[in-house]
Structures are given as C-alpha cells and as structure tokens.
C-alpha cells in the first residue's frame, strides 16, 4: 500500500508514532510526480525546493499534534494565488505572471495548518471548460486511461489526487468544475455552499457562482480540509458569517431515517444506462443503511444550462476586463493607441473558448438584449432556487449522478460545444442555487472508468452532505480502487 493510499488521519498517526516524517511525505509526492506526471500532465508548476525546505523545517520542529494538515502535500489549481509562484489560470495571457504578490485566504489557512504546497495544477483556461482541453499549455490526461479526459475545469486537481501525486488538492467550481472532474477521476470533490469559503485570491470567473473546494481520496479527508478552509473572511465581503462545524467529527456512518429525494430529471434523457445503474445501486445501499428515498421533480432543471451560460458568461465578460495588458500579463507589440493595445493584448492572450464566452456575455448585457437574456436568466435562477427550496422542505439531501456519462475520449466532444455543455446539466443548478454538493465514486463503467454519485444539500448544510457521502463510502469499496499507471505505488 502506497503512503498516499492512507487517509490524512491515518498519516497523522504515523507522524505521531514517527513512522513517517514530513520529508517522507514530500519525497513520496515528488517521486510519484517523476514517475507518472509525464503521462498525466497534471502539474503546471512545481515547488520542489521550497516544499523540501518547509518539510525539513517541520521535521526539525517535530509533530505537535496541533495542526490539522501537518506535512500533508497539496496541489493547488492554478487560479488560486500563492505569493512567489506563477499564477497562469491556464492562459497564455498570464504566461509571464510569475508572482501575484499575495496569498489567497485559503492558502493562508492551509499554511497555518502546515500543509505543504508541491505545485500548481493544470486547468481549462480561466476555468472555462469541462475537459482540460482548453488549457493553453497542455492537456491533462485521465489517470484511469490516458486516452480519456480528466474532466474540467479542475482536471489537473482531480487527476493529481487520483494518480497519487498529492494527498489532496484545491479546485474551484463555477458550474461543476470540482464535481465533474472528481467524478471522471474517481475521487471525492466537494463544492461548498456559496459564501462558505473565502474567494479572496481566486481569479474570478463568475463571482456569483464561483466557490473553492477540496478534492480528496476520501470523504473524511474532504471534511477535514473543508473545516480548515471554510469561514468568514474580511477580504471577501460575500463570505458568510456562519460558524464552521467540525465536519470530520460528525461522520457517524449513521444515515438511519435520512430522507433522500431523487429528481426524475437527473435520471432521465441523456443519462447513460451505466450511470443510471450505478446510481440505482447506490440508492439500494442507502436503503440497506436505513435511509429512505422517493422520486421528486425539479421542473426547471432543463433551463439551468441556458441560464448558467448566460449568467456565467455575462459575469465573465466583466471579470476578465482586468486583463488589459497594463499592470500584469502580456502586452501586444506594435499597437497604435491605448484601445488598440487592449484589443491586441487580449486577443493574443485569450484562447478561443474564452473569447467566445466574453462575446456571448457582452451580447447578453448589451443594451436591447439585457432584459431578454441577462435579466431573464436571473429570474430563471430564482425559479431554479425555488425548486430546491420546495424539495428541501421535505427532504434532507438530493441524490443523482454527477455527470450523465463517464469520462469521454480526448478530442471526442470538443468539436461540438453543445454536447460539452450538456454535460453541465446535472451540476449547474447547484451553483445557481448556491447550495453545497459532493461527488463520491459509485462504480465503474464497462470500460473501467469511474462514475460519480452527486449528493446535494441545503444552504450551509455541508454536515448532512458529508455524512451521507461518508456512510455510502464506508459501505462500499469504490474509493479504495486506484488507477494503474505503473511506477511503484
């Protein structure tokens, strides 16, 4: 059993008994990266020297038992700022942005608990995409089969955890960008409630939807990382003034009497039979554990993707205005005046998908279109939120698949944007409503690719989401399976 097959809690016991050191953990991480990252291509930047120095310092101090992530190697999605390290967001526009000058709040919180950052992880450019094929640097490959995509946009984060290169990673989720890659890579991906985790230092894609969350191998690790990174932050006015429960202490394994709603829309048209079967089997597991489930309806689900693309693209057209070639990033040469400089710098720096969404968003916000598109989408957002409120009046959690299909082949879907967008059908309503959701492994396709189960909860009720996910995980063995990438692990 490789070192990273253990949970953070188990590694903590090993640290306590001095069976392993922080340096051993960091060695394991870089050893594994050397063995497999040329196949997986999860990392954009490595922080090897600094990570080894930090580990040595921790070992000199010795394990104190006070920190929740002592010596634990972590990978960070490359849209989260770390002082002194490049921040590219997967974009050529930021290829020379070597130091954002400050740490995101989540990084400060990980540092305070003595986690060790081993590097920055690949992503779709500015988090726009569901396959990592939109990274302007390189694609990331699915560790379970490198002919397949890892999902996106946090594809590097999910792949690095699945490949055993790090014990956990942080991603960001605007319309499914943590959950869908977690599903494709057979790991656990949590999108917390909007406002639960500070977004300070996260490069904004769509500010009313974005949320940072953990990608881990187990639900227990997810709970532990979430309790570290959550909480109100004066640097993010949208972070909520709510107590953060000790999530990891509430994983009882008991779901007796838990009331589960299963939306018929989530198991309808477009969902593959393999995925349906895996989800149905999961519901039987819940029954055997004493939970009950009933079919319900979220009647506005089918409108979520259109509302999501209108709102996220509109917000992105404003968020990405900061990339103007004045203060950081690339600046085009041979420009005639200021406006020409803006236009040429942005056009050289942005990839096609980013341009397409900026233009779409600008259209939806332009005079004459605003009411018909932007405002309409905001009204539909209200209806989608009300759908969830209605269900949550009677049920504890909502369960369905995370994605309609397992991972697809590299290049297979990107030719057809509409098909790519359809895979967001199950995840975007959660962001529109601002509620928490997790993806946990619930089986494999005939091709040996992971399938994810999505558990959705009420605002700020991560506790029940994690508890339900944990109980299922402990009753099954999907989370113990590892991809075969060669190497020693």
């Amino acid at each position: 059993m490789a070192l990273f097959d253990y949970s953070i809690k188990e590694i903590e016991s090993k640290l306590e008994r001095k069976d392993v050191s922080a340096s051993d953990l960091v060695d394991e991480s870089f050893q594994r990266i050397k063995e497999v990252d040329d196949k997986v291509q999860a990392f954009l930047t490595l922080n090897e020297q600094e990570a080894r120095t930090q580990a040595k310092e921790l070992d000199d101090t010795g394990y104190t038992g006070k920190e929740k992530l002592f010596g634990i190697p972590v990978g960070i999605k490359d849209n989260i700022a770390i002082k002194g390290m490049p921040l590219t967001c997967g974009s050529q526009f930021l290829r020379n942005f070597d130091d954002p000058l400050y740490n995101a709040t989540v990084i400060e919180k990980l540092n305070a608990q003595k986690a060790i950052t081993v590097g920055k992880l690949n992503m779709d450019e500015f988090a726009m995409g569901s396959s990592n094929e939109n990274s302007s640097f390189k694609p990331t490959y699915n560790p379970w089969n490198t002919d397949y995509v890892p999902g996106g946009s946090s594809g590097g984060s999910a792949a690095a955890v699945a490949a055993g290169e790090v014990l956990f990673a942080l991603g960001s989720d605007t319309g499914g960008s943590i959950r869908q890659p977690a599903s494709f890579c057979g790991v656990v991906g949590m999108k917390p409630t909007y406002g639960r985790v500070s977004r300070f230092g996260l490069t904004a894609f769509a500010s009313s939807l974005d949320q940072i969350g953990p990608i881990t191998q187990t639900v227990e690790d997810s709970a532990r990382v979430l309790e570290v990174i959550a909480g109100q932050d004066r640097m993010d006015a949208t972070s909520a003034d709510r107590n953060v429960p000790a999530y990891s202490e509430q994983l009882t394994g008991d779901v007796k009497g838990l009331k589960i709603a299963v939306p018929k829309e989530y198991l309808g048209e477009g969902i593959s039979s393999e995925v349906k079967e895996a989800v149905t089997n999961a519901l039987h597991v819940y029954e055997s554990l004493g939970a009950t489930w009933e079919e319900v309806s979220l009647p506005h689900s089918k409108y979520a993707v259109a509302a999501y693309y209108l709102l996220s693209s509109s917000e992105a057209s404003a968020s990405l205005a900061r990339f103007d070639g004045v203060r950081f990033g690339v600046r085009a040469e041979n420009t005639t005046d200021m406006i020409d400089m803006f236009k040429k710098s942005r056009s050289e720096g942005f990839g096609e998908e980013v341009k397409r969404r900026i233009i779409f968003g600008t259209f939806a916000l332009s005079s004459g279109q605003y009411d018909a598109y932007f405002k309409k989408a905001q009204q539909v957002r209200t209806l989608i939120k009300q759908d969830f409120d209605t269900i949550f009046a009677d049920y504890d959690v909502i369960i369905g698949p995370t994605a309609p299909v397992p991972a697809f082949k590299i290049g297979e879907k990107i030719a057809d944007p509409a098909t790519m967008y359809a895979s967001d059908m199950l995840t975007t309503p959660v962001n529109l409503a601002g509620i928490p959701a997790i993806s946990v492994p619930c089986g494999f396709s005939n091709d040996g690719l992971p399938i994810g189960l999505q558990i959705i909860g009420k605002h700020f009720d991560e506790t029940n989401v994690l508890r339900a996910a944990h109980a299922y995980e402990q009753a099954t063995d999907h989370h113990t399976k590892r991809p075969n990438l060669g190497g020693e692990a």
């Binding site: 020379n96 942005f97 070597d98 130091d99 000058l101 400050y102 909007y194 406002g195 009313s208 006015a237 949208t238 909520a240 506005h300 409108y303 259109a306 509302a307 693309y309 209108l310 057209s317 205005a321 070639g325 004045v326 203060r327 950081f328 990033g329 690339v330 600046r331 420009t335 005639t336 005046d337 200021m338 803006f342 236009k343 942005r346 056009s347 942005f350 341009k355 397409r356 900026i358 233009i359 779409f360 600008t362 259209f363 279109q369 018909a372 598109y373 309409k376 989408a377 905001q378 009204q379 539909v380 957002r381 209200t382 209806l383 939120k385 944007p417 967008y421 529109l432 601002g434 605002h459």
Partner: protein
C-alpha cells in the same frame, strides 16, 4: 430570433475590447447564433413578477471600518508590469 451578423459580432467584440479577424467574426457569428438560439428556450417560461436573483445569500451591504492599510510597496506592485517608468505603469498615448 436575433440573427447575429458578422458586423454585429465585430461591434460586440469591439465593446469587449477584442480584436477579431473577418474569418473569426464569421465563425463566432455562427456559433453565437446557436448559443443565443439555445438561450431563447428561457422565453418559454413565464417570469412575470419573478424577482431576479443576483446573489443567492440573503446578505446586503456588508460593512467594515474604513481604515487605511499598507499593501505591497510600489516597487512590488510594478514587478509584473509589461512597461513602467518613474514608478508608474506606462501605457500608449491616449491623446492624439
């Protein structure tokens, strides 16, 4: 149905400060037409009197004390600048 012309796409691209070629404008016009067509399914829904949601949490006017704070030094803030002069960002001329 809004038919997006090549000229319309170029006009929007200009507002968004993107320089696009004729060929790109043609491609985007086609794709955007599909996306806008897709978005039009929202018109099926009667949203008369439905309050638009801008933020999902019931939070308004988060206040804090307005206190001066030191941030990065001027030199540090300029380290990533593509062009600078005399401690300031340098940009192309904005006047004729």
């Amino acid at each position: 149905m809004v038919a997006l012309t090549k000229e319309e796409v170029k006009r929007i691209a200009h507002i968004a400060r993107l320089a696009i070629t004729d060929k790109e404008a043609e491609k985007f016009a086609k794709e955007l037409d599909t996306m806008v067509g897709y978005a039009q399914q929202l018109a099926e829904l009667d949203t008369d009197g439905v309050e638009p949601t801008t933020y999902v949490l019931d939070m308004k006017n988060v206040m804090r004390q307005d206190e001066p704070k030191t941030w990065s030094s001027r030199e540090a803030a300029l380290t990533n600048a593509p062009d600078k002069q005399d401690g300031q960002f340098r940009v192309p001329s904005i006047l004729e």
